[in-house]
C-alpha cells in the first residue's frame, strides 16, 4: 500500500506542477466568467439614451408620455414640415408624428428617422402609445387603471409531483438541467483524464522506465497508482475551477457594475458543482455527520433561492454524481491504461480507442435525444443499467426520480463492471508494458488475457 501511495503522489505532483495544468486551471474560469458576463454587458452597453421628438397634433397624449431612464420625449409644436426641419438639425433618434386622431381610431401615427429605427425603439414607442390610448379608453368607459389592474389575471402553471413523500414542486427545465450538467461533466472527465492515463502509460513505455519500476512494484500497483493519482488531479482541477469561477464571476461583475444576480438556473448549477467539489475535498477530514450538516446547510441556502430547485432530491443527486463520476472514470480509466500498454506510441491507439469511445459518445447523444424526453422509457432504462453507459445516462435520469431498485442495480453493475475492466486491463497491462516493437491486434490482445506471467 505504501508503494501505491508513492506512485499516486508522483502521478499527482508531476501533473499538478505542469504549466499546462496551471494555465488550464486559471484560464477556464476566466473564460467561463467572460461568457456569463458578456451578454449582460453587451445589453447594457447597447442601451444608449434615446431622445424622441414628438409632434402631437391630436393633443391626446400631452405630457402623458413618460420619460424613462433611456428614453426621453421632447415635445414640439407647429406643422409637420417645421418639426421635420427641427428634427433634422438635432441628432435625436426619431421624430414621432401623431396626426389628428381619436382614441377610437388611432391610425396614421408615423416615425421619422435618419436611419432605420430599431425594432426595439419602435416597440417601446408602440407600447407607450398603446398604454396611453388604453388608459384613455378606460376613462371613457368609466374604468381607471387601478381597477383594471385588479381585474387582470396572470396565470402561471405550477407543476406538482404527487408521490408517496407528498407533494413537491417540480420544474422540468431545472430537473433536466441538473442531470445534463452532471452527465456532461462526467463525460468530459472520463475522456480528458482517461486519455491522460493512456498517455502516462505510453510515456513510461517509450521512456523504458517501466522495467525499472516494475522490478520494484507490481504492474497492478503501478496501474492503479496512476489511475488514482490522475483522478486526484482531475478532482483538484475541478475544485479549483469552481472556486475560481465564483471569484472571477464576482470580480468581473463588480468591476463592470453589472447586476449579475445569476438566474436560479445558473445559481443552481454553480451551487451544485460547488457542493460536489466541497464534499470531495472534505472526504478525508470530515466525519459523515459534518458532511451531512454541510450539505443540509447548503440545501437550506438553495431553498431560499428557488423553491423548485430545493425540491429536487439534492443529496441523492450529489451522491449519485460522486458515485457515477468515480465509477465511470474507474471503469474506463483502466481500459485507457490497457490501451496505453498495448501500443508503442499514440498514433497506434486509434483502433483500440473506438470500442471505448463509442459507448461514451452514444450515451452522450442518447442522453439529449431520448433519455431527456422520456426518462422512464426502455432505452433510458437499459442504458442506465449497463455499466458502460450508466454513468452518463443514469445521471440524466436521477433528477426525474428513479426507483431505488433500478439505482441499486445500476450501481451494483457499475461496481462489477469496473472490477471486471480493471481485471481485464491489468492482464493486458502486465504483458503489454514489456512488449516493444510489435504491432498488436485484438487476437493478440485476447491471448494476453490468459498468459501466465
Amino acid at each position: 500500500m505504501h508503494k501505491i501511495w508513492l506512485i499516486i503522489q508522483r502521478e499527482y505532483l508531476t501533473r499538478v506542477r505542469k504549466k499546462s495544468f496551471i494555465i488550464m486551471t486559471l484560464l477556464t474560469p476566466l473564460l467561463l466568467a467572460t461568457f456569463m458576463i458578456l451578454p449582460g454587458l453587451l445589453i447594457t452597453m447597447s442601451g444608449d439614451e434615446e431622445t424622441v421628438m414628438v409632434l402631437d397634433e391630436s393633443g391626446l397624449f400631452g405630457d402623458k408620455l413618460e420619460n424613462k431612464k433611456d428614453l426621453k420625449f421632447v415635445h414640439l409644436a407647429g406643422s409637420l414640415e417645421q418639426a421635420k426641419t427641427v428634427y433634422q438639425e438635432t441628432d435625436n433618434t426619431a421624430l414621432l408624428y401623431i396626426p389628428k386622431i381619436t382614441i377610437d381610431n388611432p391610425e396614421g401615427i408615423t416615425i421619422y428617422g435618419k436611419k432605420n429605427t430599431s425594432i426595439q425603439t419602435q416597440m417601446r414607442l408602440e407600447n407607450a402609445l398603446e398604454k396611453e390610448i388604453e388608459n384613455q379608453r378606460f376613462m371613457a368607459s368609466g374604468l381607471d387603471r387601478a381597477t383594471l389592474d385588479k381585474i387582470e389575471a396572470d396565470v402561471k402553471l405550477n407543476t406538482i409531483n404527487l408521490s408517496e413523500e407528498g407533494e413537491k414542486d417540480n420544474n422540468a427545465i431545472i430537473t433536466s438541467a441538473a442531470g445534463v450538467v452532471a452527465a456532461v461533466i462526467i463525460y468530459f472527465f472520463i475522456f480528458l483524464y482517461g486519455v491522460q492515463i493512456m498517455r502516462g502509460v505510453i510515456e513510461e513505455k517509450t521512456s523504458r522506465i517501466v522495467e525499472v519500476i516494475i522490478s520494484s512494484v507490481k504492474p497492478f500497483q503501478l496501474m492503479m497508482g496512476k489511475i488514482i493519482g490522475i483522478a486526484a488531479v482531475g478532482l483538484t482541477q475541478f475544485l479549483l475551477w469552481i472556486i475560481l469561477s465564483f471569484v472571477a464571476v464576482t470580480a468581473v461583475s463588480a468591476a463592470f457594475g453589472i447586476d449579475a444576480a445569476p438566474s436560479p438556473m445558473e445559481q443552481y448549477q454553480a451551487g451544485k458543482v460547488a457542493a460536489e467539489g466541497e464534499s470531495v475535498a472534505n472526504l478525508d477530514e470530515e466525519t459523515p455527520e459534518e458532511a451531512a450538516a454541510n450539505s443540509d446547510e447548503f440545501a437550506n441556502t438553495i431553498q431560499d433561492v428557488t423553491q423548485s430547485f430545493a425540491n429536487l432530491p439534492l443529496l441523492l443527486i450529489f451522491g449519485c454524481f460522486l458515485f457515477y463520476f468515480l465509477g465511470g472514470y474507474l471503469l474506463y480509466g483502466s481500459l485507457f491504461g490497457a490501451i496505453g500498454a498495448a501500443v508503442d506510441n499514440e498514433t497506434d491507439t486509434q483502433q483500440f480507442m473506438m470500442p471505448i469511445t463509442i459507448p461514451l459518445v452514444i450515451s452522450f447523444i442518447m442522453s439529449y435525444s431520448v433519455v431527456l424526453k422520456n426518462p422512464d422509457g426502455a432505452v433510458a432504462f437499459w442504458m442506465s443499467i449497463i455499466p458502460f453507459t450508466s454513468p452518463i445516462v443514469m445521471m440524466v435520469r436521477v433528477p426525474f426520480g428513479v426507483p431505488a431498485w433500478e439505482l441499486l442495480l445500476s450501481m451494483g453493475l457499475l461496481i462489477v463492471g469496473f472490477i471486471f475492466t480493471t481485471w481485464l486491463a491489468s492482464r493486458i497491462y502486465r504483458v503489454g508494458i514489456l512488449m516493444y516493437g510489435k504491432k498488436i491486434n485484438y487476437k493478440e490482445l485476447s491471448k494476453w488475457l490468459f498468459y501466465r506471467v
Binding site: 523504458r208 525499472v212 522490478s215
Partner: protein, 303 residues
C-alpha cells in the same frame, strides 16, 4: 555459499521456449557473467530473478530462500533498455525510485547526497532528465540501481552507451561494490567486455545453459597447451613433442604458436627453444571466453 540458486528454470512463451531447464548457482560476493548471444534467454532469466515475470517450471532460491516479493528490496536492476522519467528532476527521480525500493525519505536523501558527491554531479540534482546527455542519464540510472544498497546487483549490458571514461568509472564502482560484499551479475552478449571482470560465468545459448563455473577453471579446462613464442633466429622444430601450428618470420624475427604433445611440460619447450633461438617472449595462449563459447556451441551442435 551461493546467493542465488537457479534450479531447473523453464519459461515458455506462446511460440517459443525462452529458458529450458536452466540450473546454476551464483556464489556470494563475486562478479558473475551471464553470457550468451542476443535472444539466448538472458533477459528472460533476469526478469524471473527480479520477479517481473515468473518461471513456468523450476525454482529460484535467494540466500537459501525461495524467491519472494520481499527480496526485491535487496536487488538492484539496471535493464538493458535504460529509461527514466524525462520530465522529472534528477533528485526527485532518485528519491522516488529509492522510496519504491523501500528506503525512507531521510535515508534516501542522505544516500543520494553521498552518491552525487562521489560522481561529482551535485549540480545536476535540480535538472530535468531530458536536459542531460545520454551518458549523464546513464550515470543517474546507475545510481538509482545501487542507491538502496542491494546485495544483488543485476546489470544488463552495463557498458553499452557509456563512453570509455564513464565505463571505467562504472567498472571501478562495480569493483568497489563487490569488495563491500555485493554480488554483481553482468548480462551481456559482448563477452570480451566483461571477461577480465568476471569471477564466475554461465554461458547460455538457445535457451539452454551451455557452461558455468569459475572463469579460471573454465579456461583451464579449455586451454590447449599452446604457447606463443617470439624471438630472434631461425626456428626449425623437429621434435615430435612440439607441434608448430603457425609460424611467421620477418627480418630475422620469428613468431610461432607451438602446441605441446605427448604430455611434455612448458619448461621442456622452453629448454628446447633456448638452445636454438633467442627468446623475447613466451606466452601461453589462453582461449578467450568467446572462443570457448564458440567451441562449446559448435560441439553441442555437432553432438
Amino acid at each position: 555459499m551461493s546467493i542465488l540458486k537457479i534450479d531447473g528454470v523453464t519459461k515458455r512463451y506462446s511460440n517459443h521456449t525462452a529458458l529450458d531447464n536452466v540450473s546454476f548457482a551464483i556464489p556470494a560476493g563475486c562478479i558473475f557473467g551471464l553470457l550468451g548471444p542476443n535472444g539466448a534467454g538472458k533477459t528472460s532469466l533476469i526478469r524471473i530473478i527480479t520477479q517481473i515475470t515468473g518461471a513456468d517450471e523450476g525454482e529460484i532460491y535467494f540466500r537459501g530462500e525461495r524467491l519472494k516479493p520481499d527480496h526485491i528490496k535487496d536487488m538492484g536492476y539496471l535493464p538493458e533498455e535504460r529509461g527514466l522519467y524525462k520530465k522529472m528532476k534528477v533528485g526527485e527521480q532518485l528519491l522516488y525510485l529509492a522510496q519504491l525500493k523501500g528506503l525512507s525519505k531521510a535515508d534516501a536523501t542522505a544516500r543520494i547526497k553521498t552518491w552525487v558527491d562521489r560522481f561529482e554531479i551535485r549540480e545536476w540534482l535540480g535538472k530535468h532528465i531530458e536536459d542531460l546527455s545520454k551518458g549523464m542519464q546513464q550515470k543517474v540510472q546507475f545510481i538509482a540501481t545501487v542507491l538502496h544498497e542491494p546485495t544483488l546487483i543485476i546489470l544488463d549490458e552495463p557498458f553499452s552507451g557509456f563512453d570509455p571514461i564513464n565505463a571505467n568509472l562504472i567498472k571501478d564502482e562495480i569493483l568497489r561494490l563487490r569488495d563491500n560484499g555485493a554480488t554483481i551479475i553482468f548480462s551481456t552478449h559482448r563477452m570480451e567486455s566483461v571477461e577480465e571482470l568476471c569471477d564466475n560465468i554461465a554461458l547460455i545459448n538457445r535457451s539452454q545453459k551451455v557452461l558455468d563455473g569459475p572463469v579460471r577453471e573454465i579456461k583451464d579446462a579449455y586451454k590447449t597447451d599452446t604457447f606463443q613464442v617470439i624471438g630472434n633466429g631461425h626456428l626449425l622444430v623437429t621434435s615430435p613433442d612440439f607441434k608448430v601450428l603457425e609460424q611467421h618470420e620477418n627480418n630475422g624475427v620469428f613468431r610461432a604458436n607451438i602446441k605441446l604433445e605427448n604430455g611434455v611440460k612448458p619448461n621442456d619447450l622452453l629448454r628446447y627453444l633456448v638452445e636454438r633461438v633467442e627468446i623475447h617472449s613466451f606466452v601461453e595462449l589462453v582461449p578467450s571466453i568467446n572462443d570457448i563459447f564458440i567451441r562449446k556451441v559448435t560441439e553441442t551442435h555437432h553432438a
